[in-house]
């Protein structure tokens, strides 16, 4: 970990200005739960930190309008505990409280969480020149592809990178078509979450469609009746405090026993939060039976490409999606 300079502005505009002034090597920091970790591992070496954890009004949690609005600085724990969110959008609440630990959720912001970086061990552990990583050092090569790849992605991979997108909350937001509002040196813009995350392709070092200096200030989620019949189902190597091996965010609108609208997104198996329109199409107009749920699961991973040790994720993801559909459908009935 290297010495760095630090500033703590009070407004988003001042934060963007501070970032721009600091020039190369500036990073925003909110809860610090990813960035400090990577700084200690020497993967990140920022010269200047702009602390955005205390921006006025950034902890907004607004559920009364036509969209859910979350300030980028709202804490994961606060949204996870929000009564309306738990009642109307259990997939959002579950995606938060099934992530990390209570201590981390108390610190981590929902805006910063969107930018959490991969847990690929070759990425995290390679500072000091041991493991080549295209994400850390473009062009260096990828140690994971021929390595211990049990945790690697089976969807959205490239010859340069198979690192899994680690988040839970971004998967739930992807299922619900959230918008990400950012402020940059050129002003505000809104990025649909489907365009927010980039596939690794030949440039796995580029993970987000943010321009330099752009700061996430708000997350907006269109309201939907499907929110009530929803779940974020997460399967992992232990029952808490672990990243997903496979997860599914599912929200259903069921009328007359048939799925009118399905929202399905996957985590733990893809290089970005993975919306599956193919799985949604399989369910549309059908009853959420086990058979149909499994068919949707199979459709979601039809393009999967397994490596040496992660082939089990194909069956695991299929069944996880099916289980999530079953849970969501039961919530529709109740």
């Amino acid at each position: 970990m290297r010495a760095f300079s630090y500033s703590r502005p009070r407004s988003p505009e001042a934060a963007v200005a501070a970032f721009t002034d600091a020039g190369e090597g500036a990073r925003y920091i909110a809860g610090g739960t990813t960035l400090f970790d990577l700084m200690k591992l020497n993967v990140e070496q920022p010269a200047h930190l702009v602390d955005v954890s205390q921006l006025d009004g950034s902890d907004l949690i607004e559920t009364s309008g036509d969209k859910l609005r979350f300030g980028a600085g709202a804490r994961m724990a606060d949204i996870a505990d929000d009564e309306t969110i738990n009642r109307e959008y259990p997939l959002l609440a579950e995606s938060l409280w099934r992530a990390a630990s209570q201590q981390l959720r108390n610190m981590a912001s929902v805006g910063g969480n969107l930018l959490q970086r991969t847990r690929c061990p070759y990425f995290r552990n390679g500072a000091g020149g041991v493991y080549p990583c295209n994400k850390r050092e473009p062009g260096a090569g990828c140690a994971a592809i021929e390595g211990l790849d049990r945790g690697q992605a089976i969807l959205g991979t490239s010859g340069a990178c198979t690192a899994v997108s680690p988040g839970d909350w971004p998967v739930a937001l992807t299922a619900l078509d959230a918008d990400i509002v950012v402020l940059g040196p050129q002003g505000n813009r809104t990025i649909p979450i489907a365009e927010f995350y980039l596939l690794p392709q030949d440039t796995p070092d580029r993970e987000f469609s943010l321009a330099p200096g752009e700061l996430i200030i708000e997350i907006r989620v269109p309201k939907t009746a499907a929110g009530r019949a929803s779940t974020y189902h997460k399967v992992r190597d232990r029952e808490s405090y672990a990243f997903a091996l496979a997860s599914a965010a599912v929200a259903l609108r069921i009328e007359g026993g048939q799925v009118q609208k399905a929202h399905i997104a996957l985590g733990g198996i893809a290089t970005k939060p993975w919306r599956s329109e193919a799985a949604e199409a399989v369910l549309r107009g059908k009853a959420p039976t086990r058979e149909n749920a499994l068919a949707a699961g199979r459709a979601a991973i039809a393009d999967a490409r397994a490596g040496r040790h992660n082939g089990f994720k194909i069956d695991l993801a299929t069944n996880t999606i099916a289980d999530a559909i079953t849970i969501a459908a039961e919530r529709s009935a109740s």
Partner: protein, 727 residues
């Protein structure tokens, strides 16, 4: 005095621990301290060409960067690494330019602050000669089988009996590499105090640390004092001198300033000991009635190239049941790694995993209940030597545990029990044993007429409750008030310190404290001229108008000669057991697991666990239960979670942090029900104690694996059992 069951009592140091007042080695406040940080080797084998410290020295606060050239005068002695100096002399990093294992320290940065030391260490640039080829895993080419078979144990004609038996299993189980990951990281602080070099280090053997370091850095052993006030998880990883111990001690003498190093967890995966990979080939045979006919057990254990961490897998399995024929042998496979070492139930956990799972396979093949199979082969004598056991209540453990877990609902055919949510339910049983060993001890006990009592003796408090055990005997014999009790252990300034390991801590300190207390009581009886007395001893002392009474006593384990005390003073290993003149002594345990497996995902969860332990007299019910629960939690980790994953191309443990090296979290643990037999084993020692800390874990992983089979019908013969195995 006769032995009576100990009543329920809190730990004597519970309050200090909860309040954070119990200071561990790295917590000591030291003036004028230099903080040290190591630079780990980024290659697995080779030679340093050059070290460039110029950037590090520019980091504000960095005082000095030390390399092998600074430490060339450190002597490599049998004490250099752990207790594993056979057949070699161990290995001390940074005494030369050669790298023999991944991650070993290649530079030591000293700075005025920890932050500067870390930044300095990251700024050191090390250039290596062309990297040498290396072998990271025992399955790879280049792994070298040690020419000698380490242990060979047997009796009868096992091959012949196996060949002609009606029922047999022939199976191979694999155990992965595991890392201790204690919460208290490994650290060394060296400072000068009262004319001595004082070392604070969380160690299980402060005498060997002091004596060994003195030899390594060329000092008079009397001029080094080692203090290990509390150990925050020893479990064998803190048995010996660590890779950084001599470096820090020498750095302090070079700089003439106190130096402290806390080894970061990520580095510990490559600098500290660990449980090595091992392979277990088990053949068991029985007649149609379930009478065991033969056991054949062959193991291979990964080891470093330079040390002798001995493979003792074969020592306990033949003692579990009445095998009429047995043949076992243990071998070592050498690769380029740091030396593995003891980790809780070091060999007994892997060997019980393999053999108790194989026994479950045999029971299934026989169509026999696995509890019945074990009861049918109970024995009161050791099949290998023919000597009796000092005590064995394993059958009672099995019978009681079966009631606790409601064993009667188990079905022989897997997958027949279902939970309401559709989960498959499996029940599994396995047993374990661990040698009942003892160490000599040197004790000084002082009682004051105002009730204050001070005892200094050999032993280390590692969270197992050693102080509470000592207190229990003083309360029992002398009626001492625990609030007025000063217990001094873990410090060569108090008494010569035994290696506190191998589950012999309680069986060594309880008899020592009891013997000292009985001697003091006898002295009091003599002084007061009464036959005996009731109530607190200090009141009797007050009657004599003496302010203080002091006794000293050496306790020597059964069958050992007084030379053992001399060995103890010199920091030599001196534990006795399990074989004594007239008998063998073991602690015994029966474990029962209820595992639920989710059919759609293969998630296995241990929902209930029952363990019944025969550890002789229970000195403190709370710490004993805590030991067993801790052993079970660790066994859950071993069964379903833990594995050190090494990429053979790089020779490094990839998951070298607590986020990725998975140990159980609270959500993984449901109900653990513990019961104790609490029958004193007075043939072994005057306290009737055997030992609990290690046996607690032995067999528990096998019980879980056997329950997984009973739930799913799948025999998974490797650990951990993960989702992909059951999906």
């Amino acid at each position: 005095m006769t032995l009576s069951p100990n009543p329920d009592r809190p730990r004597v140091d519970a309050r200090q621990k909860v309040l954070g007042e119990a200071l561990f080695a790295a917590d000591q406040r030291v003036e004028n301290l230099l903080h040290a940080m190591t630079v780990p080797a980024s290659i697995a084998k080779g030679r340093i060409r050059a070290i460039d410290a110029s950037a590090a020295l520019k980091v504000p606060g960095v005082v000095r960067v030390m390399t092998f050239e600074d430490f060339a005068d450190i002597q490599i002695t049998p004490a250099s690494r752990g207790a594993y100096g056979q057949p070699g002399k161990g290995y001390q990093p940074m005494t030369g330019p050669d790298i023999v294992h991944r991650g070993e320290p290649v530079a030591l940065v000293l700075a005025e602050t920890l932050e500067a030391a870390i930044e300095g260490a990251e700024s050191v640039s090390v250039e290596y000669h062309e990297a040498a080829e290396f072998t990271a895993l025992m399955e790879q080419g280049g792994a070298e089988e040690a020419p000698e078979v380490f242990t060979r144990l047997g009796h009868g004609d096992a091959e012949g009996a196996f060949a002609s038996a009606a029922h047999k299993v022939d199976v191979t189980y694999r155990h992965p590499q595991q890392h201790h990951n204690p919460i208290e990281l490994i650290s060394t602080t060296a400072l000068f105090s009262e004319g001595k070099l004082r070392i604070f280090e969380g160690t299980q053997w402060s005498s060997a640390l002091a004596g060994g370091l003195a030899g390594m850095i060329g000092r008079d052993p009397q001029s080094v004092r080692a203090s290990s006030p509390y150990v925050g998880g020893g479990f064998g990883q803190k048995n010996g001198i660590q890779e950084q111990s001599a470096l820090v001690a020498r750095a302090a003498t070079i700089m003439a300033r106190p130096v402290k190093l806390v080894m970061p967890r990520g580095q510990l995966f490559h600098t500290a000991s660990y449980r090595p990979r091992s392979l277990h080939h088990v053949r068991l045979a029985a007649d149609a009635g379930g009478k065991l006919a033969a056991g054949l057990y062959r193991t291979e254990q990964q080891n470093s190239r330079y040390d002798g961490y001995n493979p003792l897998f074969g020592e306990t399995p033949p003692r579990m049941y009445g095998y009429p024929n047995w043949a076992g042998e243990d071998r070592v496979i050498r690769v380029d790694t740091q030396t593995p070492g003891h980790q809780r139930a070091p060999h007994e956990h892997p060997s019980s995993y393999a053999t108790e799972c194989a026994l479950d396979e045999l029971a299934h093949d026989l169509g026999m209940d696995p509890v019945e199979l074990r009861l049918a082969n109970d024995t009161d004598k050791d099949p290998i030597t023919g000597k009796p056991y000092s005590s064995r209540h394993l059958a009672a453990c099995l019978q009681r545990g079966a009631r606790m877990i409601d064993w009667g609902r188990r079905r022989r055919e897997p997958g027949r029990l279902r939970a309401e949510n559709g989960d498959m339910i499996g029940l599994g049983v396995a047993c374990g044993s661990y040698k009942a060993a003892m160490s000599p001890a040197i004790t000084t006990l002082r009682l004051q007429a105002n009730g204050a009592c001070r005892i200094s003796l050999s032993g280390h408090e590692m969270g197992q409750g050693l102080r509470s055990v000592i207190a229990a005997e003083l309360i029992d014999v002398l009626g001492v008030d625990p609030a007025k009790l000063d217990i001094r252990v873990g410090d060569t300034g108090f008494a010569p310190q035994m290696l506190t390991a191998g589950s012999w801590g309680t069986a060594s300190v309880a008899p020592a404290a009891r013997a000292a207390a009985l001697k003091l009581r006898a002295n009091l009886v003599e002084l007061t001229g009464r036959d005996d007395f009731e109530g607190p001893a200090y009141l009797q002392l007050a009657r004599t108008r003496r302010p203080m009474l002091k006794v000293e006593i050496d306790t020597i384990p059964l069958g050992e000669n007084p030379q053992a005390i001399d060995d103890l003073r010199k920091g030599r290993p001196v534990a006795a057991g399990p074989e004594y003149t007239d008998f063998l002594a073991f602690s015994w345990i029966a474990h029962f697991a209820e595992v639920h497996v989710e059919p759609s995902t293969g998630r296995a969860r241990v929902r209930r666990f029952a363990s019944v332990i025969d550890c002789g007299r229970v000195m403190n019910r709370r710490t004993t239960e805590s030991q067993v629960k801790g052993g079970v939690v660790w066994a859950v980790g071993a069964a379903l979670r833990e594995i050190g994953e090494t990429d053979p191309r790089y020779g490094r443990v990839l998951n070298n942090d607590l986020a990725e090296y998975l140990v159980p979290v609270n959500a993984d643990i449901d109900w653990i029900d513990v019961d104790v037999i609490d029958e004193p084993d007075t043939r072994l020692n005057i306290s009737g104690v055997k030992g609990a800390g290690e046996v607690a874990m032995v067999g528990a992983t096998a019980a879980i694996a056997n329950a997984v089979f009973n739930a799913t019908g799948k025999r998974i013969r490797h650990l951990p059992i993960r989702i992909e195995d059951l999906l």
